[in-house]
């Protein structure tokens, strides 16, 4: 019987890989938070966390920020999804490009470009100043909530849009024909049915906010946040304290795990199955309603895309040291990159393409194994694949760097660790994309091929793989896009000579050399955009089908 032979072996291999590169480093972080400076078992790390400095305050701030941004993202995302799903608005084609804007504009750049607009020396702030009005202070809560909302609402928008399109219109009609007014019908019938989708995407937003590093470090000057403290504990110029690094990492893992648990409990009680209904017709709005609705939606879209524009202009703007001279243009920043920084671009391309090839190969294999060839080991693989979702990039970076700096496998400082960090971080998304249409591929096709005498492996290659191809292509593009923009894990593990574009941007922004950072930002966006464009236009890949 070789019916199971290659699949069990492959599942074991996948499990071993995940145990070594996901399970072991994360468990290591958790364990090290209970080890004191002397090496023995101790709760010193947590005692320090509870009693000293601003750690507790940072935890509170992080939770408040997570909840607030999740709420604002829900409002913006659901509103926009509703408008797009139900009304004919003039720019619905542009709206479908929105999710891309978030993918192509690295968070770091969007934070910094908003500083250039609303910061104390920003364009709008100065404009307000000129007409004698005071613009509210952007650094701190206002800026954090504002930029994070504009960066993360897209996740909820996509989920809500998919759910709204799936709502059977006859339910609504039933409600209204029974005498309920339109608004209560929405509230009692439509919103409960899209709730599970909104909540799951809301959870993603919450984890993104809690783990966010790039926006936090740019704007949280007066607000203590856990992610920034975690990073700083690791990157301290004077050598960090491993116990404290692990403790901070553990706290953020526990925070996300707790929220994940609550959400699962809530969703378990609510399950709506739509019987393939008909999509409601889109209504054409008239008069002031049309102006208000399309105006608001248009504003959201404009604001989402503005950072890209600011960066583009900034990259051509004359600067002397940190000071920018708006309105004077130069190619100098690009010339400097050409002369000095080609290795940075090469690093980015090299690491991201390796991570993409490895990640997508692994994701394809694992999703096939998990869906078509389940064994007793499959649940373990399922759970290990969830783990990278619960930890922020910074924590993953710390886990990998600490986990592999001694012992049998020493990887700290090698380019391989950079690739691994990028790959592992995006693995859950890759698997989800690669498996998206696997459920719909009937087993009988493959069985037919096997029963006609084609060996199992070749049957997979000739029958299943071609059918999976669209999902794999989507996984490849999304993995590429996110690894090229990856900062928070790579910035804690990179070594001299391994700088990628986002790391270089981060370092330039740290030294306040915004114009030069912008030029790198434009190159980063181009590298991200080209495969996306080719994928959508040439290969007709549907990126956001899930």
């Amino acid at each position: 019987m070789n019916r199971f032979f290659p699949w069990v072996l492959l599942t074991v291999l996948a499990l071993v890989f995940l145990l070594i590169f996901v399970g072991y480093p994360i468990l290591g972080v958790l364990a090290r938070s209970f080890i004191g400076e002397g090496g023995g078992l101790s709760l010193d790390g947590f005692a320090t966390f509870m009693t000293r400095g601003r750690y507790l305050e940072a935890l509170m701030n992080t939770m408040i920020l997570g909840v607030v941004v999740t709420c604002t993202c829900t409002i913006v995302g659901v509103f926009l999804a509703f408008v797009v799903a139900r009304y004919e608005v003039p720019f619905s084609n542009v709206i479908m490009l929105l999710p891309l804007s978030v993918l192509i504009i690295p968070e770091l750049i969007s934070a910094q470009s908003w500083v250039m607009v609303f910061g104390n020396n920003g364009l709008v702030t100065n404009l307000f100043d000129a007409i004698g009005l005071e613009f509210p202070r952007f650094y701190g809560w206002f800026g954090l909530v504002y930029v994070m909302t504009l960066t993360f609402y897209v996740h909820i928008f996509l989920a809500a849009l998919a759910a709204l399109r799936g709502v059977d219109h006859s339910l609504e009609e039933a409600g209204q024909s029974l005498g309920t007014a339109p608004l209560p019908t929405y509230l009692r019938v439509v919103f409960p049915t899209i709730m599970p989708a909104v909540l799951s995407s809301g959870l993603i937003v919450f984890t993104l906010v809690v783990g966010n590093f790039a926006i936090s470090i740019a704007l949280a000057q007066r607000v203590a946040l856990l992610s920034v403290m975690t990073y700083q504990s690791f990157i301290s110029e004077l050598g960090g304290n491993p116990t404290m690094q692990s403790t901070l990492a553990t706290v953020s893992i526990l925070l996300v795990a707790a929220v994940l648990f609550i959400q699962k409990r809530y969703l378990a009680k609510r399950n709506y199955q739509m019987v393939a209904g008909r999509t409601p017709p889109r209504i054409r709005l008239r008069g002031w309603k049309s102006i208000v609705v399309s105006g608001l939606a248009g504003l959201i879209i404009l604001l989402s895309l503005l950072p890209a524009l600011v960066v583009l202009v900034g990259s051509f703007t004359v600067s002397r040291g940190p000071v920018l001279y708006w309105g004077q243009f130069t190619l100098e920043h690009y010339q400097r990159i050409w002369t000095f920084n080609m290795p940075v671009i090469v690093n980015s391309l090299k690491f991201a393409s390796l991570a993409t090839v490895l990640g997508v190969t692994f994701a394809t294999l694992v999703s096939y194994l998990l869906i078509k060839k389940r064994t007793a080991l499959s649940p373990a693989v399922d759970y290990l694949l969830l783990l990278p979702l619960t930890i922020s990039g910074t924590v993953l970076g710390i886990a990998l760097a600490q986990g592999f700096n001694s012992g049998p496998v020493v990887l700290t400082g090698t380019a391989m660790l950079m690739v691994l960090a990028m790959m592992v971080r995006r693995l859950p998304f890759g698997v989800r994309n690669a498996s998206s249409n696997l459920h719909n591929i009937s087993n009988s096709l493959e069985e037919a091929s096997v029963s006609l005498g084609v060996p199992p492996m070749r049957s997979v290659r000739n029958v299943v793989l071609p059918l999976m191809a669209p999902g794999i292509a989507a996984a490849a593009i999304l993995t590429w896009v996110t690894t090229v923009a990856e900062l928070s894990a790579s910035v804690v593990i990179y070594q001299a000579g391994q700088e990628t574009l986002p790391i270089q941007i981060f370092r330039l922004i740290s030294s306040d050399l915004m114009a030069r950072a912008s030029a790198f930002g434009v190159i980063n966006m181009i590298i991200i955009l080209v495969p996306v464009f080719v994928g959508i236009k040439v290969m007709k890949v549907r990126l956001f089908s899930s």
Binding site: G119, Y139, P343, L354, G413, Q495
Partner: protein
Amino acid sequence: MTFPNAFTLLAVSATLSVSSASATLAADVNLYTSNSEDAVALVLDALNEQAPDIRVNVIGGGSGSLLRRIDAEKSAPAADLFWSSGFSTLAGFSELFSGYDTPQADNLLPSLQALDDPWTGTNTHVMVLMVNADVLDGNAPESWQDLMDPAWQDKVTMADPANSSSAYAQLYGIYQLYGEDGVRKLADVVEVQGSTSGVYKAVAQGEYPVGMTMEYAAQRYVAGGQDEISLTYPSDGTFLSPEGMALVKDGPNPEDAKRVYDILLSRDLQQQLFELTFRRPSRGDLDEAIAASGLPLMKDVSIVEIDQTAAGDERERLLDLWAEARG
């Protein structure tokens, strides 16, 4: 099928980039440097002129990550020369370096010769108060002591001394001037940024009227034309934080590395580097260039001598005191 094409493309680009990245290792002197790339470009130009036979391979990065890399490579050193980091940071890695008695030492300021250490001073930071006149109500502070007035609460910022070596130098200097009491008063007033760069960015952006930072960092804004920014040298004396370079022990090419070392300390190059970066040179014969830049001469600045060794020894105790005073 269209998708295998995308895969081939990815694979091809991966192989291409791997091969082009490995072609950079054939240089003669391997320079590990934390200096900005425009500063490095100046040095490469000067070397090209004065020692055209030497090929220099530059690895750039943060000084911490470079030093850790040199440490990781110590069984088979790849680096020849490390340029540059603070004396106190270098002290933590001194076993990685081998000393070199450069003939240029006589031209350096005495405090930067570092004759007993395996490194040589290249430049020195001067701690200053960076002031943003746009958001300042009333008079600017004149001294460290002024800052201890509760009236400055929420208006002054410094970097976290636990993370930033320059902020620690400031804290230690204030401790030396005003003792534990001064440290406690400062802790009550000042707002702390996570990193060194957070301070000058926040002041330049008008988030705080006053920041404790380094001369060169603040001067970049003045020279760039941001008129509201100015530098104050505290009247009760400021502190220096010297930086140095060092030969890496058992580096592959020590003889050529020594030539690079000497050129890095030469008058022309030090002057050009100063004019580019505003980091005060270690040579004593560049007063003209300093005066031309608008910065005061060293002899006109009141300076408190700091014993770098004592500062290092007291670090843990002082940081504990600081953490406790901050609450």
